[in-house]
Structures are given as structure tokens and as C-alpha cells.
């Protein structure tokens, strides 16, 4: 048992450090950026009329469509379309590598879910806050950036942390676009060693360890974010 772990764990951990962790971290950063932009667009209620209003309605529709599309199709299918499907269009800049397909799909998919979390957090901030700031003469943009967003950030952290944990595990799907990340490597090693039970248990345990380590910052981020509320206990 020990020799099995000693033989295979180091290779798997290297694959994890080379692929799983960078995929998860890069995709998460992109996902949060996408999510904030989409959540802001979908939360914004313009008071304008005419052509400006039409413009906003189109932008809001695109944001809605993106969230609907990525939430209602399997990520596996999205990966196949992007990696195997898009090259068929024959447009070179639209034909992503394995790495970039995985990052695009992981970040767009996570971004769709995270945008809903952020949108919910924004709408959880009572309208009385907006009104109090408006009464002080603040503009819509100032109110959003300085009053609503900082409070919504705190509310959205637990849900975003959840999305991040899912994302770490979902990087295993990148195996289908030929990235030899941790899970793909474990499949290759299982095929030659015939120790399927031990091998997949080992890789499962490594995912659990990675998730646990990567979740440590959440506690500190949450503590910082909770500085202005009364924490129980």
C-alpha cells in the first residue's frame, strides 16, 4: 500500500500542480471578472429612454442568454463543442488549444453560476441603502461601487467559495480535451498498473487534499469580509 502511494502519488501531484491548480486558479479569476460584469449588467435598471434604453435591453438580453446557455448545457458538451467543434469552422483564431479551450469553458461555465450568486447578493442589499446614498447626492455609479458592491461582496463569498470548490473538481473534465491533468494521468497509470480501485481512490484523495488546501484562504477572506457585522460566538 505504502509503496503504491510512494510510486504513483508524486506523479499525480506533479500533474495536479502543473494542470489542476493553474486551471482552477486562472479560470476562477476569469470567472469572477465575468460574473461581476454580467451581474452588474443584469442588476442595472436604466432610467433612460429611446435608443439608449434599447441598447441596454440588448446588452441585458445577451447577458441573460449567456447565463442561460452555460447553465442549461453540460460542461462536457461545451468542452467538446469548443475543442472539437470550433476548428471545423476553419477560422484559425477561433480554434483554441487544449489549454485555452479548458480555460474558456471552465471560466465561462463557472462565471455563469457565479454571476447568479453575485446578482442575488446585490439584490439582497436593502433598497434603503441605495436611497440613503441617493439622498446624499451620490450618483448611481457611486452608489453601486461604494455602497452596494462592498456589502454584496460579503454576502457572495460563501457561494463563490462553493463555486471554486466545484471548479477544482471540474478541471478533471479537461481530460477529454487531451490535457494530461491529474485525473487523465491516473487513467493512464491505471491502464498500465491494473490497480484501478487503488489508483482512483488515490486520485480522489488527492482532489480532496487539493480542495482542502485551496479552501484555507476562504476562512481569512470571510473573516475580513465580516469585519463590519456582528459575528455570533
Amino acid at each position: 500500500m505504502f509503496s503504491f502511494i510512494a510510486t504513483y502519488a508524486p506523479q499525480l501531484i506533479v500533474a495536479g500542480i502543473k494542470y489542476t491548480i493553474p486551471l482552477a486558479l486562472i479560470s476562477f479569476v476569469l470567472a469572477v471578472i465575468i460574473a461581476v460584469i454580467v451581474a452588474v449588467i443584469r442588476s442595472y435598471q436604466p432610467h433612460t429612454s429611446g435608443i439608449k434604453r434599447l441598447f441596454w435591453q440588448i446588452i441585458k438580453f445577451i447577458a441573460w442568454f449567456y447565463v442561460w446557455l452555460f447553465r442549461s448545457t453540460p460542461m462536457l458538451v461545451q468542452l467538446f463543442i469548443v475543442f472539437y467543434g470550433l476548428p471545423k469552422l476553419g477560422i484559425s483564431w477561433l480554434s483554441p488549444s487544449a489549454w485555452s479551450s479548458a480555460i474558456w469553458v471552465l471560466s465561462l461555465n463557472t462565471g455563469a453560476y457565479a454571476s447568479e450568486a453575485i446578482r442575488a447578493a446585490i439584490s439582497s442589499i436593502p433598497d434603503t441603502q441605495r436611497e440613503a446614498a441617493a439622498a446624499l447626492g451620490m450618483t448611481d455609479l457611486q452608489i453601486f461601487v461604494r455602497i452596494i458592491l462592498p456589502q454584496a461582496t460579503r454576502v457572495s463569498i460563501p457561494t463563490l467559495a462553493n463555486s471554486f470548490i466545484s471548479l477544482v473538481k471540474d478541471t478533471s473534465l479537461a481530460s477529454v480535451v487531451t490535457l494530461v491533468e491529474m485525473f487523465y494521468l491516473s487513467q493512464q497509470l491505471a491502464a498500465v498498473s491494473y490497480n484501478t480501485l487503488q489508483m482512483y481512490t488515490l486520485v480522489g484523495a488527492l482532489y480532496a487534499i487539493f480542495v482542502t488546501i485551496l479552501s484555507i484562504p476562504q476562512r481569512y477572506i470571510q473573516r475580513w469580509a465580516d469585519r463590519f457585522i456582528k459575528v455570533q460566538g
Binding site: Q129, A132, L136, G137, T139, P150, R227, I229, K230
Partner: protein, 246 residues
């Protein structure tokens, strides 16, 4: 000077303000009273453009707003600079300390230098008796204290008119007395205030002028002496409701 002419406001099933004509002069404390649902808050919120009447004219100093026309953002912000607002609930920005709550709008809206804003904020905190709370978060203060911060926050913008919408209704009598005492000091110092309240003792003590609103119309507009000492039958009935008798 704030002047409302022929102000009319309807909600779906409720005629909130009916042909309101009233002028508020600088350095006066006006107290607006009336039964619940009489349109007091709507009237006050119209002055700060948190509500927009359906029709009528609103003149602030040299500018006149026609409510039947769309109001530009520039006019909206300009009006709010002139009129500070204190709500029934303190509505603190929970993520900011007491000091930052107060300096937020002076820095962002008035573009004051941070050091000047802090200096002004500390003077105001002293005036509301809370100079030791500057670096605390709102959750660490009591309801009466946060309402005093809310008053300081509104005054930090140097509004020409301070509007207060039942500022003590959420407080127990002891805390209410503290807040009213502070408001009375500001009134004596010449701060123009328009206050909606249910506290008749305070109204009598602080008001230069009383307005009685019922069913969206102004039923009385005059001196506190006339209001309290020579009330009409309706006002007498209204005032009697504040005295508990068996």
C-alpha cells in the same frame, strides 16, 4: 427658499398629495404633523426628489422644477445637495465606520479634501455627543447613537434644508429625548429644518411653524401657538389622541 405649487401625486389606488401649495423659508423649523397615511412622508420625500410628484412646480432658490416634465440627473443631484435627509431608520452604511459614513458623501459628492472632511466630521460628531465613536462600525452602536450619526452624516453635506422623516419614531423615549435635544440645538443655531414627527411636545418646543396634513391636503399652516392653543375642532381631536385617557 423652497416653494411647492399645485403639487399632485397619485399612487395606483391612493391620492397621496392634493394641490399642495407651501413655502419653506430659510432658518425656520417647520414641523409637519398629521395622521398616518396623510401624505407627510410623501411631501417630505418630494422635497428631496426621492418621490417625484405627477404635476406641480417646485422652486428651490433660483431653479424651478416642473414635475410634469422629466427631471435631469443634474437637477436631481443639485436638489439633493441642497436638501439633506434623515430617515426613520438610521440607514447607516454598515460596511463603513462611523467616520467614513460621515465623510463618504463630502468626499465623493462635494469633492472635499479628506482631511477637511474628517475635521468637519469630528466637529459634527462632537455636536451630536459621539466623538468617541469615530472608528466604530455601526453595529457596535445603539439605535439612538446611529440615528445621531445619521444626523451628522446629513449635516456633513452642509444642506441648506435638513429634512427629517419621523427621526425618532423607532427610538425609546429616553433615546428619543436625546435626539430631539440635539435637533433643537441645531434649530436654535439657525439650521433650517423640516421635520415630520409624532412628538407634539417637541413640535411645540422647536417649531417656528406648524403644518397639519390630512388626506393629502394641508389643513393648517401657521404658528405653533395657533395650532396648540386655538385649534380647530379637527386639530383638537387629533391632539387629544396623543393624551391617553380612560
Amino acid at each position: 427658499m423652497l416653494k411647492l405649487e399645485k403639487i399632485d401625486k397619485r399612487y395606483a389606488d391612493h391620492h397621496a398629495l392634493k394641490d399642495i401649495n407651501v413655502t419653506f423659508k430659510p432658518n425656520e423649523t417647520t414641523v409637519i404633523v398629521g395622521p398616518s397615511g396623510s401624505g407627510k412622508s410623501t411631501l417630505l420625500r418630494s422635497l428631496n426628489l426621492l418621490e417625484q410628484a405627477d404635476s406641480g412646480l417646485y422652486t428651490i432658490d433660483e431653479r424651478t422644477i416642473d414635475f410634469s416634465q422629466p427631471i435631469t440627473t443634474e437637477t436631481l443631484l443639485w436638489t439633493r445637495r441642497k436638501t439633506g435627509m434623515v430617515f426613520q431608520q438610521p440607514r447607516m452604511f454598515d460596511h463603513l465606520t462611523v467616520l467614513k459614513n460621515i465623510i463618504e458623501a463630502p468626499i465623493q459628492v462635494r469633492k472635499q479634501k479628506k482631511s477637511d472632511a474628517i475635521k468637519h466630521a469630528l466637529v459634527l460628531l462632537d455636536e451630536v455627543g459621539l466623538n468617541d465613536t469615530a472608528n466604530r462600525y455601526p453595529y457596535q452602536l445603539s439605535g439612538g447613537q446611529t440615528q445621531r450619526v445619521a444626523i451628522a452624516r446629513a449635516l456633513a453635506m452642509d444642506p441648506e434644508y435638513l429634512l427629517l422623516d419621523e427621526p425618532t419614531s423607532a427610538l425609546d423615549p429616553e433615546l428619543e429625548a436625546q435626539v430631539l435635544h440635539i435637533l433643537n440645538n441645531f434649530a436654535k443655531a439657525g439650521q433650517t429644518m423640516i421635520i415630520v414627527t409624532h412628538n407634539m411636545d417637541f413640535a411645540r418646543a422647536a417649531a417656528d411653524r406648524m403644518i397639519f396634513l390630512e388626506d393629502g391636503s394641508i389643513q393648517f399652516d401657521g404658528s405653533p401657538e395657533d395650532f396648540f392653543d386655538h385649534p380647530t375642532e379637527r386639530i383638537e381631536h387629533f391632539l387629544n389622541a396623543y393624551k391617553f385617557t380612560e
